[in-house]
């Protein structure tokens, strides 16, 4: 698994039955331009499809997007599924993660507890996520490993 932690391949998709595609279209573009290999699974991607693609491509990171407000339900057990598929990647989630006008810190906690290494709100500029990923993949791979395993 050691070789994988430095993989520049990023698996990207919108989880559940969410069809908001514009955000990941922009993200795909931005991560590609930043030199990552992006596998864009598109919208309405299941947990299993994320896991399969991440395993197939030895992904260094799995980026989950959700806009429509069902992210919490859609991500239950997601990290279990990844683990079972032997995926050991940094996991990020971003977008509009709660139904309604929630407090983001609360939302962040919820998704951290579900196992995501980083949680981004919908004001996130792609550059922020790129900077974070550069750091997580190259500078502190072991720490991010620890976090995703302890989830």
């Amino acid at each position: 698994m050691i070789g994988n932690t430095m993989s520049q391949t990023v698996v990207l998709g919108v989880i559940g039955s969410d069809a908001h595609v514009v955000g990941i279209t922009i993200l795909e573009q931005a991560f590609s331009a930043a030199g990552f290999d992006v596998v864009n699974l598109g919208v309405q991607t299941s947990q299993e499809q994320f896991a399969e693609a991440a395993a197939d491509h030895d992904a260094g990171a799995v980026l989950v997007s959700s806009l429509y407000g069902h992210a919490e339900q859609d991500c239950q057990g997601f990290h279990q599924v990844l683990e079972e598929a032997g995926v050991d990647a940094v996991t990020y989630i971003g977008g509009n993660l709660a139904v309604g006008q929630d407090d983001f810190e609360q939302t962040r906690r919820t998704f951290r507890e579900l196992g995501f290494d980083r949680v981004f709100d919908s004001e996130t500029d792609p550059e922020e996520a790129i900077a974070a990923l550069r750091q997580d993949l190259e500078i502190t791979p072991t720490e991010s490993e620890r976090v995703s395993v302890s989830s």
């Binding site: 922009i26 309405q44 069902h70 139904v99 919908s122």
Partner: protein, 482 residues
């Protein structure tokens, strides 16, 4: 091979029986009884009549929460405090996926915890009686709004439940809303929905149908949206629908928006059979909103202003909390009142803007090109033509998540902020029209001193949420800034 033909009555009955067995509440539906129920409703709850007889744009918000009592309270609030003329019931995402079991779980969880664990009202689970309770509680017409590729059971239950307006269509609730449903499949399913609405219509209950005009909500060129509206309108008319509201989502350029709404009404009247009453609905900006309520109110204000000039029959309002998530009822009502104030202050004014006719003519010509190619692709049959045209890419929608559309066409704003086509891919269009777009876009590229590229598209996607209409590069912005 599926064609644009009316579903025979026996077939209608067969499908109806079949789909009603998909969930327990399906058995509550009794068509004859439903007709009498609709007949018992007072005039001011008859959606088509209220909409068609209005003499200024009626306002309608979006709103849906899982529990019935909460939904009643929410709609009462929006009617009273938001002065909404027409009310919505937005359906949750599980129901849209026909996952009635999951919706039931969510509904039960909502009932236990009091939290909104679904992003809408699961009308199928509430059943005919639940719907009727809602219809009876609210003193205004209510429309079902959703995003469901296969809305047959939802239609059967909500029509019987007293709703007289139903949003969506086989393209507009497929291409922007789902990845894997084929167009042939959704057309067949919506033919049933329209046929059912037609069956009510024949019995004097004119169910209003409203194709979803904004599509992906993101820089959709007007002619593409209008062509799809005309197709869905024709399909609905074939099945006997007689009240059709064609939709259009604001792009933010006033001239283009007014021109598009004019073209929509004109082409709607032309392309749809005479026996159909065609109305229009204008959706306030459907793309990404600013993450700031004050700025969002500016976006809403521009929407209201555009509506005051174009005078569509209906306006779907946004709330200042659009960016953040499902709005509180207060924010939702406030979007309604901000819009009402702008419309009412501006609508009695004579505001004739130059260039609307020219832009309208361009939009009409483009739309006719698209309608022509659909006609040709289908050898005269609009169903086959639509399927084939999407398949070949001759018809396409920007940012379409669906596998049924190429999603290869890319829009960008010109120097005046009108949405043009930057990447045509295989979209069918007369060369001289393409030249017009190209010229307008290269004028913008000149202004900005940069090449046309995906960067420009991405900048345009973010522009309104960043406080501008046109996604200028940083350098030009600082040059022109104060």
């Amino acid at each position: 091979m599926i064609r644009d033909e009316r579903i025979p009555s026996d077939e209608l009955r067969r499908i109806d029986d079949e789909i009603r067995s998909n969930w327990e509440t399906g058995s509550e539906v009794d068509f004859e009884e439903a007709i009498s129920y609709h007949e018992s409703l007072p005039d001011h709850k008859r959606f088509a009549d209220v909409l068609e007889s209005a003499d200024k744009p009626l306002l309608q918000p979006r709103a849906g929460v899982p529990r019935l009592d909460d939904q009643i309270e929410l709609l009462e609030y929006l009617h009273r405090e938001g002065q909404a003329d027409l009310l919505p019931t937005t359906i949750d995402s599980y129901t849209r996926d026909n996952e009635y079991g999951k919706a039931q779980e969510g509904l039960e969880k909502a009932r236990e915890t009091g939290e909104d664990t679904l992003n809408g009202f699961p009308a199928v689970n509430h059943g005919v009686d639940g719907c009727r309770e809602l219809i009876e509680a609210i003193d205004a017409p209510i429309e079902v709004r959703h995003g469901t590729p296969d809305a047959r059971l939802l239609a059967a239950i909500t029509f019987a439940g007293g709703f007289q307006s139903f949003e969506g269509g086989p393209i507009s609730y497929n291409i922007p809303y789902t990845k894997r449903h084929g167009l042939e499949e959704t057309i067949e399913r919506w033919q049933f929905v329209d046929r059912l609405a037609g069956a009510y219509t024949e019995r004097g209950v004119r169910i209003n149908r409203e194709p979803f005009g904004p599509l992906t909500g993101t820089l959709v060129p007007p002619s593409i949206a209008i062509a799809i509206m005309l197709v869905e309108g024709k399909l609905a008319a074939t099945q006997g629908v007689r009240s059709i509201t064609l939709g259009y989502g604001q792009v933010g350029n006033v001239v283009q928006d007014v021109a598009a709404l004019n073209a929509l009404q004109k082409l709607g009247d032309e392309y749809l059979p005479d026996e159909v009453v065609v109305t229009t609905v204008f959706h306030e900006w459907m793309g990404g909103f600013p993450p700031d309520e004050a700025r969002a109110n500016g976006v809403i204000g521009l929407g209201g202003m555009t509506a005051a000039i174009a005078r569509p029959d209906k306006v779907i309002t946004k709330s200042p909390q659009e960016f953040q998530g499902v709005p509180t009822k207060e924010a939702n009502a406030s979007g309604l009142r901000t819009t009402r104030q702008v419309i009412d202050m501006a609508i009695e004014q004579d505001i004739d803007i130059d260039g609307i006719e020219d832009e309208q003519e361009l939009i009409e010509r483009e739309t006719r090109c698209l309608m022509e190619t659909i006609h040709e692709h289908g050898d005269g049959d609009v169903v086959q033509g639509t399927i084939e045209a999407f398949d070949s890419g001759a018809l396409d929608v920007p940012f379409a998540p669906s596998d049924s559309a190429k999603g290869a066409v890319l829009p960008a704003r010109d120097d005046d902020g009108r949405v043009r086509i930057f990447e045509w891919a295989d979209l069918e269009m007369d060369d001289d029209i393409k030249e017009i777009h190209k010229a307008r876009l290269s004028r913008r590229a000149d202004t900005e001193g940069r090449d046309q590229s995906f960067r420009m598209v991405a900048d345009d996607v973010d522009a309104i949420s960043d406080g501008k209409l046109i996604g200028r590069p940083r350098s030009t912005q600082s040059q022109e800034g104060a």
